[in-house]
């Protein structure tokens, strides 16, 4: 997928002024966050489970080479195949080679963020294979030729009116006068359209939430059942997985599963958790004849042992997106690549370079909600700070920004001077703004005042008031 992360500021500005998007984003605040909070409140062991989930991933990452080799051995022993791919190009080639060998015309796809990262759909289409997204949200954005805006709810940025229009424009064979007003009708229409596609597909491609070294299995967690129809009906099942998805045992996967659905959708357990191991057995009643795991590195192995290693614990639950004030304001597409929100702000520079994605770790208020709700306790704000430091060290931010920061640093490193300057600044601004109580425009502060007023200070700085209070208490 082509990154537009460089244009983050323009993307964000456009997003803030888009009334449809703003309306759609309102659904996030009441939906995900409340449901997650309720699910967590129902499980007294929540914090302990988080700690155990973190410990499992830490152990796995420290021994990643062992567990990947053990996983491959088990897959092979059961008649499957692991394809090791250093980058997206290798992974795309591996998938295409399987499709070509099986003479595949169409492939069905369950939602896979690794597939988005690879740009797999474009690659297949360019080579004469038709990919059909089957997750409802992915299907909607596929027919609209858009990238996903959320890692578990790809069409969360759209209103039902926009979706209805796209259905009418795409499903031309249906009665133009049909009713298509609510989610139920659209859901039924997509179900009817996609059912024959499931039955006709030659190859089924899914992602993976986990790979299990103990058994050579891949696990997907879904609610719609599309991932299951995708992998059960065709001749071959291809699993797209990045290498940090491996865990040692079924017990370890079970522990992380307990925190995954609750963090993601606030469900006790997703409707379908499916463990797939190899191709169908000789006496099986159904199932795919081939099982392939496309194992993608794409820069992840280089993150081990460094300050971004913790990011490899991420289980893609999207809790950090759902609780992020910046994501809630601008939606996912503004981030300009596959992974939005706080996890994307850390992962994107790691995978496509800080030169292309340096804006993302700056798009944070550092409120810390993301780290609080992360089931894997990933220190997202700290890592965004690391990226800001690296960006600064490489002289990537614009000159005015660097000069401003240098000027600010000059004062901050001299506390007495800083306090005096802040106190005078507050007094002057308070005096000038005393009539209105706020500023509509202010020199050097256009970045703030372009979209909102700046409240006028009420005369004194916090530090000087605080000093006065401390002095008064000492006297008393």
């Amino acid at each position: 997928m082509k990154a537009t992360s460089r244009a983050f500021k323009d993307n964000a500005r456009r997003a803030l002024g888009d009334p449809q998007l703003q309306k759609a984003l309102l659904n996030l605040r009441t939906g995900f966050a409340e449901r997650r909070a309720h699910a967590v409140s129902q499980l007294p062991e929540w914090e302990k489970l988080r700690d155990e989930a973190v410990a499992i991933k830490r152990h796995t990452l420290a021994n990643l080479d062992f567990y990947l080799e053990a996983f491959e051995q088990k897959v092979t022993a059961q008649g499957g195949q692991v394809h090791w791919c250093r980058d997206a190009a290798e992974a795309n080639a591996a998938v295409l080679a399987i499709c070509r060998r099986l003479d595949a015309q169409t492939v069905t796809k369950g939602k896979s963020m690794v597939g988005e990262e690879m740009g797999l759909n474009d690659h297949l289409e360019a080579n004469g294979v038709t990919p059909v997204e089957t997750d409802l949200g992915e299907y909607i954005i596929q027919i609209r030729h858009e990238p996903p805006s959320h890692i578990i709810a790809p069409a969360v940025h759209l209103t039902k009116e926009q979706i209805g229009e796209s259905f009418r424009a795409t499903h031309r064979a249906l009665d133009p006068a049909r009713r298509l007003e609510d989610a139920r009708q659209m859901c039924d229409e997509a179900r009817a359209i996609l059912r024959p596609r499931f039955l006709a597909a030659d190859v089924g491609i899914t992602g993976a939430n986990f790979l299990v070294a103990e058994t050579g299995s891949s696990i997907i967690v879904t609610n719609e059942g599309n991932g299951d129809l995708t992998q059960t009906l065709p001749k071959a099942h291809i699993v797209l997985a990045s290498l940090e998805k491996v865990v040692p045992t079924l017990e370890d996967a079970s522990t992380i599963l307990r925190v995954l659905a609750r963090s993601a959708t606030g469900q006790e357990f997703s409707a379908y958790t499916t463990v797939s191991t190899g191709p169908r057995r000789p006496d099986d009643a159904d199932g795919p004849g081939e099982y392939h795991v496309v194992l993608l590195d794409n820069g992840r192995s280089a993150l081990l042992g460094g300050e971004f290693e913790d990011m490899l614990r991420c289980i893609r639950c999207a809790a950090c997106l759902n609780h992020c004030p910046v994501y809630q304001a601008i939606g996912g597409q503004s981030y300009g690549w596959v992974y939005p929100g706080p996890m994307g702000a850390v992962l994107t520079p790691s995978l496509i370079g800080v030169e292309a994605a340096g804006n993302l770790p700056n798009a944070s208020t550092f409120c810390g909600r993301c780290e609080q709700v992360c089931p894997m306790k990933i220190p997202l704000p700290r890592m965004m700070r690391h990226w800001r430091e690296r960006e600064f060290e490489r002289h990537l931010p614009p000159r005015t920004y660097r000069l401003g920061l240098a000027a600010w640093a000059f004062f901050v490193e001299r506390p007495a001077l800083y306090r005096r300057a802040a106190d005078w600044g507050a007094r002057i601004l308070g005096y000038v703004g005393r009539a209105r109580g706020r500023f509509r425009a202010l020199p050097l502060a256009a970045g703030w005042t372009r979209t909102r007023d700046l409240p006028a200070p009420e005369g004194r700085s916090f530090m000087s008031l605080w000093a006065e209070r401390v002095a008064a208490r000492k006297r008393a």
Partner: protein, 234 residues
């Protein structure tokens, strides 16, 4: 071996600033895979007596939008299913998995119910399956593929009906895994993973349109559980 494989493994070791794992570390990892130790399991179901686990299973399954009918004897199952279909005004036509446990039930006594044994087709409105275990913790069914369990039978039909015996109810996912490990499947009577293990919690659903939950996305619109209180756990 492919050059990419060696390069990826090499890159992992370089980043971790070590060569191949030391023998004692390898031994520790191998032991973990063989002994698959349990992690923390929530008290919710684990601390309940078997009867309590059955009640919790029913409560959690219903909370996930499944419906549950309870019978005393296996022979009551076909009539219960026919009554369920009639009550919802659904077609009296079902496909049942080629499972000996289902073969043993008195289907022919239901003269209005059309039953077929085999693999589900797109045109089958109702699929009946058994299950391997039922997880009390979250009201989850555990099914697996095999000669008696075509996976599509619990995904293609609009209505999925699962026949569950109370003795199949266990506390947690880990108990389900242990039962599966204890059920030898291959010719040498060793444990072998089935191709597919499905954990099913309620019917299919989506919230992809404006975060509004709709049941029946691509999989079954309804999940009905017929629970046989066979007393094996009392």
């Amino acid at each position: 071996m492919s050059p990419s494989r060696d390069q990826i493994l090499g890159s992992i070791r370089r980043a971790l600033r070590r060569g191949a794992l030391a023998p004692e570390a390898v031994a520790a990892c191998e032991t973990r895979l063989v002994t698959h130790p349990r992690n923390l399991i929530p008290a919710r179901a684990r601390t309940l007596p078997p009867r309590g686990q059955v009640e919790l299973f029913v409560k959690m399954a219903e909370a996930a939008n499944a419906t549950v009918a309870r019978v005393r004897e296996p022979r009551e199952v076909p009539a219960t299913i026919a009554a369920y279909l009639a009550r919802l005004n659904l077609p009296q036509r079902l496909v049942r998995a080629p499972d000996p446990a289902l073969d043993a039930l008195p289907w022919s006594a239901q003269t209005l119910l059309e039953t077929r044994r085999g693999i589900a087709a797109d045109s089958d409105p109702v699929g009946v399956t058994t299950c391997f275990a039922a997880i009390a913790e979250t009201g989850t069914l555990m099914l697996h593929s095999g000669p008696a369990g075509p996976t599509r039978n619990n995904f293609l039909p609009d209505t999925h009906i699962a026949v569950v015996r109370a003795s199949q109810v266990v506390a947690a996912y880990e108990d389900g895994w242990d039962r599966l490990r204890a059920a030898p499947r291959d010719a040498d009577a060793r444990f072998a993973m089935p191709r597919t293990v499905n954990f099913v919690t309620g019917p299919s659903r989506t919230a992809d349109i404006e975060q509004k939950i709709e049941l029946g996305a691509h999989g079954p619109r309804r999940l009905h559980i017929v629970l046989i209180d066979d007393g094996a756990t009392t």
